[in-house]
C-alpha cells in the first residue's frame, strides 16, 4: 500500500481484558465493554463510556448496535438473537441499528471492522452471549433489590422478571426507569458467567423473524444510495475505457457547461491509487450530473494495460506456471517429486475460470461531507477500517478525522470491502465546497469492478497401482486480491519461507483428503494483478480451487473405474491432521447422496448426477458442504440443471430459516457462476457493461434446490459462502456422467460441452 493510505493499526480489542459495564444513561440503560483495557478502565459509572453493544430504553425496547455490514445475511438480527437468548428479552422488543466506524465497534477477534469470510457469527457468538447474560444479571440484581427477594429466586423471560413465591414481577422497562441497574463485571466475573447450554435455548436454533425484513417490504430501509444531506450536490463519474492504469490528458467541459445545474468537472487526483483516470461531473441534480458527464469530452492516455485481453492474461498465467521457480508454497507435504517417480499412472489437467463481476443490485455510491475538521462518509461498506483510510487518503487528512456512517448494503458479496466510491465523493465535495453524493451508473459499476480474478490452475496427479492418489501438484495462478489491500496481517507466510502469499487465492486447495505427497503453489499473475485489480467475490479462492480439485478427483475416479463418490469417501479417512474434519465432510457427502437418491435409480438418456464436497472457506473455519447436481444435457450441449441437493454441516444454527436462505442463495450464486456469468477483458477494458451482456441467474433459470442443514452442536460456522463453491464442480461432474463430456473452464458453455462430447 502506498504512503497515502494510512491505516490506523489493527488492534484486536481483546475483550478478555476488558470490563463489561452496565450503566444508566439519559436514554436508558447502556451495555457494553469498557473502551479501555481493564487496568485503565474507570469502574465508576460516572465515567461510563463503553463500547455500546446494546441499550435498553425506558420503554423496554432493546437496540443492538451491529458493527458488521448487513448485506442481506441479516447479521444484525442474528447478533440481536444471540444477545436476546441470554438477556431474556421478548423478541418483539428487539431492534437493531448500525454502527459508525468508531474503533469501539471493532470485531473483538479481528481487531477491525470487516465483514467477510463468513466469520461474523462464528467469532462473535461467545462475546454476544456474555453481553446478553451480563445484562440479565444486572437487571435481575436491581429487580431483586427493589422486590426485596434474592436474585437467585428470580425468573427472567420475555422482558419480564418475576418472583414465583411472592408473585411479584417487574418489566425491563420498569427496571430501566428506576435507574438502579448499574453493574460492572470484571473480565474474570464475565468469564465466570454460566451461559445456557443448548438444551436451555429458547431463541437460538429458532427461526424468529428477521428484524430488518419489514422495512425492506415497504421501501423504508435506508441504503447508501438513499442518503440525503441538506444542500448536497450530485456527482456522476466518467471512467476511462481501460480498467486500470489510464490517465486523463484533457477534459473539455464546454458542452457540459450548457447543461443546466452543472457545477464543475473534477478530475480525480487519487494518491491512494484506488482509481485511475476518473472524472466526476458535479451538478445540482443527478439527472443533470449524468447529462453533464455524457457531455464531457475527455482524452486519455490508456497506460500500460491498454492492449491487454483475457487471452493475454491466460497466456501469461501459463508462462508463469511453466517456470520451475514461480510462486510460493502454500502446502508442501511429503515429497511429490520422489513420489511421481514411483507412480503407476500420471494425469494432468488445466482448469480455468473467467473474470466475474459482483454486480450487487445497488450500484456503488458514497456521499461525502466536510463538516469542521471531520469528513463524514455515508456508504454501505464491509471494511470500514480500511475504507475510512482510503477516504482520508483521498482527502489528504489523517484517518482519525473520518467518520464512516454505515448504511444497509444493497448487496455486498465482497464488493463493498473496497472503497473506490469514496474517492470521487470526497474529491468532488472538496472541490465544490458542498456535500456530494456520487452514484455509479451500472456501466461504471461493472467496468470498474474489483472482480473475481481470472484464474489458471494446473493439476498433476500420480496414482499407485491400486488407483490410489499418492501425489498431487496443484498450481494456482491468479491476481492476488488480498495483497492489493496492502495490509501485511492479511497475508500468510509460505511454507517454503519464500515470503508472504495471498492465501485468499489458494484456500481450499489444502483439502481434507489424505494425499501423502501434496504440493500447492500460489503464483501471482502480476499482469492480471495490474490490469484487473481483483477483489473478494463471495467465497473467494474456494470458488476456483475446488473447481479444480473436485473436477480432478472425479476425473481420477473415472480413470480408475471407481464411483466418484466412493473414491472421495475412501480418501476422507481422517488420518493425521485431517482427523475430525474429514469425517464431517464424509458424513455431509453421504447425507447429500442419500437425499438426492444418488445411484439409486436409472436416469433418462442425457441426464446425470455429479457430486462434489468442499471444506470452504478456510481450513480452520470450514463449513462442511456437499452437493449432488442432477443435470440434463441436450444434444446441442446446453445444460439444464434439474436439481441441486446441498447438505451443509454448520455446527450450530442460530436461525434455521435464515441459514436456509443463505445457503440456497449461495448455491444459486454457484449455479450462476457455473453457467451464466462471464466477463472478458479486451483492450484493457471489461467488455460487459450491463445486465444484457453480464447475465446473472433469473427466475426462469431456477432449478429445484434442496438444502439440508446439519447442526451437530459444534461451533457455529459461516453459511453465506461455502455453498457457492460446491456447485460448479458438481455440475461439471454431472455433465460428464450425463454425456461423457469433461469441461474444464468456467462458465460451462453449450459450445464447450458440445465440443467435449465429440472429443
Amino acid at each position: 500500500m502506498n504512503s497515502h493510505v494510512k491505516m490506523t493499526e489493527l488492534q484486536s480489542t481483546d475483550l478478555s481484558r476488558r470490563s463489561f459495564l452496565v450503566g444508566a444513561a439519559a436514554s436508558g440503560l447502556m451495555l457494553g465493554y469498557s473502551a479501555m483495557p481493564d487496568a485503565l478502565a474507570a469502574t465508576a459509572p460516572a465515567n461510563f463510556e463503553p463500547s455500546v453493544w446494546y441499550a435498553i430504553a425506558p420503554d423496554g425496547l432493546v437496540t443492538v448496535t451491529c458493527g458488521k455490514a448487513d448485506m442481506g445475511q441479516h447479521v444484525a438480527s442474528t447478533m440481536a438473537q444471540i444477545i436476546c437468548e441470554e438477556l431474556g428479552a421478548k423478541w418483539s422488543d428487539m431492534r437493531v441499528s448500525l454502527a459508525s466506524n468508531d474503533p469501539k465497534f471493532n470485531d473483538p477477534v479481528l481487531g477491525a471492522q470487516i465483514t467477510g469470510g463468513s466469520w461474523s457469527t462464528m467469532m462473535n457468538f461467545d462475546a454476544m452471549s456474555r453481553a446478553g447474560a451480563a445484562g440479565r444479571i444486572a437487571l435481575a440484581d436491581a429487580a431483586a433489590a427493589s422486590m426485596g427477594v434474592p436474585a437467585s429466586e428470580l425468573a427472567v423471560r420475555d422482558s419480564m422478571i418475576s418472583h414465583a413465591k411472592s408473585k411479584k414481577q417487574m418489566s425491563f422497562a420498569e427496571i430501566v426507569k428506576s435507574g438502579k441497574a448499574t453493574k460492572t463485571f470484571t473480565p474474570d466475573e464475565l468469564k465466570a458467567i454460566k451461559l445456557k447450554t443448548p438444551d436451555q435455548y429458547t431463541m437460538i436454533g429458532f427461526s424468529v423473524p428477521q428484524l430488518d425484513i419489514p422495512d425492506k417490504t415497504r421501501g423504508a430501509a435506508k441504503y447508501g444510495i438513499d442518503v440525503m444531506l441538506p444542500g448536497m450536490a450530485y456527482g456522476a463519474i466518467v471512467t476511462p475505457p481501460v480498467r486500470y492504469g489510464a490517465t486523463v490528458k484533457s477534459v473539455d467541459d464546454s458542452a457540459a457547461k450548457k447543461v443546466p445545474g452543472f457545477i464543475k468537472a473534477v478530475t480525480l487526483d487519487d494518491k491512494t491509487a484506488t482509481t485511475t483516470g476518473w472524472v466526476v461531473a458535479v451538478a445540482n441534480t443527478y439527472q443533470n450530473a449524468r447529462k453533464a458527464a455524457e457531455a464531457l469530452k475527455i482524452t486519455y492516455d490508456g497506460g500500460p494495460n491498454a492492449k491487454l485481453s483475457s487471452e493475454s492474461l491466460f497466456a501469461e498465467a501459463k508462462r508463469l506456471q511453466a517456470l520451475p521457480d514461480s510462486g510460493e508454497f502454500f502446502v508442501k507435504n511429503g515429497d511429490t517429486a520422489a513420489a511421481f517417480g514411483t507412480t503407476a499412472k500420471v494425469m494432468e489437467a488445466e482448469y480455468t475460470t473467467n473474470i466475474n463481476i459482483h454486480a450487487p443490485m445497488e450500484p456503488m455510491n458514497a456521499t461525502a461531507e466536510f463538516k469542521g475538521d471531520i469528513l463524514h462518509i455515508y456508504t454501505g461498506n464491509q471494511f470500514a477500517t480500511r475504507s475510512g483510510a482510503i477516504a482520508a487518503g483521498a482527502a489528504g487528512i489523517d484517518p482519525k478525522y473520518v467518520v464512516m456512517h454505515q448504511m444497509w448494503l444493497g448487496g455486498g458479496f465482497g464488493r463493498r470491502l473496497d472503497a473506490d466510491m469514496t474517492v470521487p465523493a470526497v474529491q468532488a465535495a472538496k472541490a465544490v465546497g458542498k456535500p456530494v453524493k456520487v452514484i455509479y451508473s451500472r456501466e461504471n459499476d461493472m467496468t470498474m469492478d474489483f472482480s473475481r480474478p481470472l484464474t489458471y490452475q494446473k493439476v498433476k496427479a500420480g496414482l499407485d497401482g491400486d488407483g490410489k492418489l499418492i501425489a498431487l501438484n496443484h498450481d494456482v495462478v491468479s491476481a492476488w486480491p488480498t495483497q492489493r489491500w496492502g495490509i501485511p496481517d492479511f497475508l500468510s507466510p509460505s511454507v517454503d519461507k519464500k515470503g508472504p502469499l495471498d492465501a485468499f487465492t489458494v484456500n481450499g486447495a489444502d483439502f481434507f483428503y489424505t494425499v501423502p505427497n501434496h504440493n500447492v503453489r500460489a503464483i501471482k499473475n502480476e499482469m492480471a494483478h495490474n490490469a484487473t485489480p481483483s477483489g473478494q467475490l463471495r467465497s473467494v479462492a474456494p470458488g476456483w480451487t475446488f473447481w479444480a480439485v473436485e473436477s480432478m478427483v472425479d476425473e481420477i475416479a473415472h480413470a480408475v473405474g471407481k464411483d466418484p463418490a466412493q473414491y472421495r469417501i475412501e480418501m476422507l479417512d481422517g488420518k493425521g491432521d485431517n482427523a475430525g474434519g474429514a469425517q464431517r465432510l464424509r458424513n455431509t457427502l453421504l447425507a447429500a447422496m442419500g437425499l438426492a437418491g444418488y445411484g439409486t435409480k436409472e436416469l433418462a438418456k442425457g441426464e446425470g448426477m455429479g457430486v462434489a464436497c468442499v471444506s470452504s472457506q478456510e481450513r480452520k473455519t470450514a463449513s462442511w458442504t456437499a452437493c449432488v447436481a442432477h443435470v440434463a444435457v441436450a444434444p446441442s450441449g446446453e445444460v439444464t440443471v434439474k436439481k441441486l441437493t446441498v447438505a451443509t454441516d454448520v455446527g450450530t444454527q442460530v436461525n434455521p430459516d435464515g441459514i436456509q436462505a443463505q445457503v440456497s442463495g449461495a448455491a444459486l450464486w454457484g449455479l450462476s457462476l457455473a453457467l451464466y456469468e462471464k466477463a472478458t477483458l479486451k483492450d484493457g477494458g471489461i467488455e460487459q457493461t450491463n445486465f444484457d451482456s453480464y447475465t446473472p441467474l433469473r427466475m426462469s433459470q431456477l432449478p429445484e434446490v434442496a438444502v439440508s442443514v446439519i447442526a451437530n452442536g459444534e461451533h457455529a460456522t459461516g453459511v453465506g459462502e461455502p455453498a457457492v463453491t460446491v456447485i460448479a464442480p458438481a455440475i461439471g461432474n454431472a455433465v460428464f456422467n450425463a454425456v461423457g463430456a469433461r469441461v474444464r473452464s468456467l462458465p460451462i458453455t453449450a459450445e464447450a460441452v458440445k465440443a467435449a462430447m465429440k472429443a
Partner: protein, 163 residues
Amino acid sequence: MVTLNINGRNLSVEAANDSPLLWAIREQLQMTGTKFGCGAGLCGACTVHVNGEAVRSCQTAVGDVVGKKVTTIEGLSAKGDHPLQKAWVAEQVPQCGYCQSGQIMQAASLLAKNNNPTKEEIVAHMDGNLCRCMTYSRIQKAIMRAANEMRTAANSATERRAT
C-alpha cells in the same frame, strides 16, 4: 416545474420533461423506496405503477406521466400491509432487500389482474426483475400466498354480498 400525481398527491418537481421519472421520484421527491439498478430497463429495481401498469421508471420520461396516476412502493398500501407485503414478511423473502420494492410492485400488477396465477404465469411476469441475492423461490411462494389471501378475501366479500 412539472406536476406529477404520485400516491394520490399532486407534487411539483423541477425536472426536464425528457428526464427519467426514477430520479425525480427518488432524489427530488425523496421517495427512496424506488431503486436504481441498471438504468436500462434490464433489472426491474425501479418498477412503479402508472395507471396501474408496472413500468420501469428509469425508462419512463417525466413528461409522459403528467396527468396519470403514479404509484410507488410507499403508496402501495396505507400501512405496508398489502397482501404481498404481508406475504413477503411471512415468507421472509428479502435478503439485502434492494430489489424487493421493484419485485413487489411488479407482482402487484400481476395479482391486480389475476389473483390465481400459475407458477408459469408468475415466472413469465417476474423474469425481468433481477434479484442478485437469488431470493426467487421465496418470491414465488410469497406471490402464491398473497394470491391465496386475495382470493379468500374476494370470496368472503362475495359471500357477504350474497347474504
